[in-house]
Symmetry: C2
Subunit: 388 residues, 2 copies
């Protein structure tokens, strides 16, 4: 009996090793799943292979609530949505309560805290980010010497013609992503390159270089020293930690990244040809960086972000003390927010504060939330104003 048990055990071990071996060396198989598929009425069909799941739902920023999916005999769950307002939306599957990206979709949302896929619902009249048959710029990933001996990663857009017109120099827009986003998010989700390609082709934006840094510099320093890190608090935006993090970013931007860019790209190196902007945390970093360095930047864009009146009064009194001077220095001071944004109230307070202090700014309030759908819209608007 014992012998038989041992034999059975040995057989199990052999089978398990076999399975593990196959898992190691065989590519994944199964029915072919196409997901998402955009239908002609702008609805979309999502599919997810999970024969053993009990419940699969679709979550997405185009939905008010998750949509139940149904399983076919092959174990593929699917759902077709109502027609969707054309745009790019993050989505994921909720598989028995577990969040999963869409395995059949390569379009993804680069982020340090969550994983989401992206669905692009095209419009009949191409959207601002549509891939059109126009001259295309390029997007370059490269390394630069960053803080404390670390190597930083940055993504850089150069406009069409940059490679060929060797005598030409360009203005630069430093464009920072949101809390827990990465240096890839403006490219992969914000479609910076396509928005600029389209605007430049229509003569609506000046050809410019766009530099997209990684924003969470403080975490990288901390990771080096304590072997771990924590992302910034997304809600409390003006405590000592938030200010110290913004300072670490600002130091890296001005002492490391900006000199690197100006050495390696054909940039026009004065404040009138440097813009800085950002979404969410990147907007806060933008405002702090520019108010501390008015000699460096003349164009400022704050997308879905603000500084508190307290922080303004404590740290940036010089901006409001002589508003005429500030108004002369800043060629553009853009502040925008959506009316469903969880930072809506704070941003409106910031706007009121600036108005009361007679600091000029371009106010843009639209519908929608703290989303990359809005962020793309803000980039599209502001890119047409920069360096003009």
């Amino acid at each position: 009996m014992n012998n038989k048990k041992n034999k059975t055990h040995l057989l199990c071990v052999i089978i398990l090793i076999g399975i593990a071996y196959m898992a190691k060396s065989q590519p994944p198989r199964g029915p072919f799943v196409v997901s998402p598929k955009i239908n002609t009425d702008k609805s979309a069909t999502f599919r997810y292979l999970a024969p053993n799941a009990k419940e699969v739902k679709l979550s997405g920023q185009f939905l008010k609530a998750p949509l139940a999916m149904t399983k076919d005999t092959a174990g593929i769950w699917s759902v077709t949505t109502e027609p969707i307002k054309p745009d790019i939306y993050p989505y994921s599957f909720q598989v028995d309560g577990v969040t999963a990206m869409d395995p059949a979709n390569v379009a993804f949302f680069p982020n340090e805290r969550f994983k989401a896929s992206l669905v692009d619902v095209p419009a009949d009249e191409p959207l601002v980010h549509a891939l059109k048959d126009v001259p295309h710029g390029t997007v370059t990933y490269e390394y630069y010497p960053s803080v404390s001996g670390t190597t930083g990663s940055v993504v850089v857009y150069t406009p069409p013609g940059y490679e060929k017109e060797r005598a030409k120099k360009y203005p630069v827009y430093y464009l920072i992503s949101g809390t827990t986003d990465t240096e890839e998010t403006w490219f992969k989700v914000g479609k910076t390159n396509l928005i600029l390609d389209n605007l430049i082709a229509e003569g609506k934006a000046k050809p410019m270089i766009i530099v997209m840094p990684y924003g969470n510099i403080a975490a990288r320093i901390s990771e080096q020293t304590v072997g771990g890190t924590k992302p910034a608090d997304p809600v409390v935006r003006d405590n000592a930690d938030a200010v110290a993090r913004a300072k670490a970013f600002e130091d890296d931007l001005l002492k490391n990244l900006l000199p690197y860019i100006e050495k390696n790209y054909r940039t026009i190196n004065n404040r009138e040809n440097r813009a800085i902007g950002g979404f969410s945390r990147g907007g806060g970093q933008t405002l702090r960086a520019v108010f501390s360095n008015m000699d460096k930047f003349a164009w400022v864009c704050s997308y879905s972000s603000f500084l508190s009146p307290t922080e303004m009064d404590n740290n940036f009194k010089h901006i409001t003390a002589d508003p005429a001077k500030t108004n002369k220095q800043l060629k553009l001071f853009w502040v925008s927010v959506g009316d469903e944004d969880f930072l809506y109230k704070g941003t409106l307070e910031f706007m009121d504060y600036l108005t009361a202090k007679k600091v000029n700014f371009k106010r843009f309030v639209n519908d929608g939330g703290h989303t990359w759908m809005n962020t793309k819209k803000y980039l599209n608007e502001t890119a047409q104003l920069l360096f003009k």
Copy 2:
């Protein structure tokens, strides 16, 4: 009573709308999770926040079988592995049977069929792909006019100094990824740029441009016409479908991509300065493209791939009919495979076939499977042989 029910129902609806609204406008919250964390003994600690999950396991190509994880009071599941042989490995979490990427890790495996995160276990003596303090090349994403009026996406590595040394021209290596991989996989998983940066810094590789195309061209054409697509069969490698797919890729490579690269980069435009190579499906595409275009390429690398003797005899008789001629034409003909690779047997048959036909090739058989750990190794070996 009914009135009370209605009120309760209304309250539920309001709460649900509230939750949906928060989901839309609030960034994700929860305990901060650091994952993975590499420990000093080369073990790694993986963490996953899932308070409601019943069972979470870690799967990874460094493991023989999935590892059970345990939950702490905050709902964070974790496990610390045995010491891991330094390398980059794909991994994922199995959460109640559902595959999920690591939400806390931005390093990911670009693929059309599955989603995996990447863990990089560094060695004391830096590995071939380590980020070192050496001059870095750049990686550029760009578009090119592809088949049937579509726009193709391609990733291009240019070596350190490319931007500055304007008079210099470079040889080009066309490097193709595997079945269901994308044009990003050689960069994000294969670390092409870092491997070349390191080899060039040590004087072991010639500075070269590396062009990394998207391999699944046939699917893109099919998607255009039938509104859907299916990936190539990863196992059956020489049926009519596989050959037609390889042909579609070859047409795009030679008629669209190669002319685009030679127009937009400073390339040396002759067969002695063009190499072609690929992993898995990309290896098959490589062999078919070169055997059909011996006037275009003089350097060939097949990583974990082969053509069957039948296909060789049917389609590429001219390669074996006059082996002396072939041997003179090909400056390098590299064939490599790991002894646990599911294509091991086929690749060995291909090697035996070439030997019998007196076609010279460089044979490289090592341990390991059909993995990107091996693929990086093959790139590191062959990059030292190219254009010399």
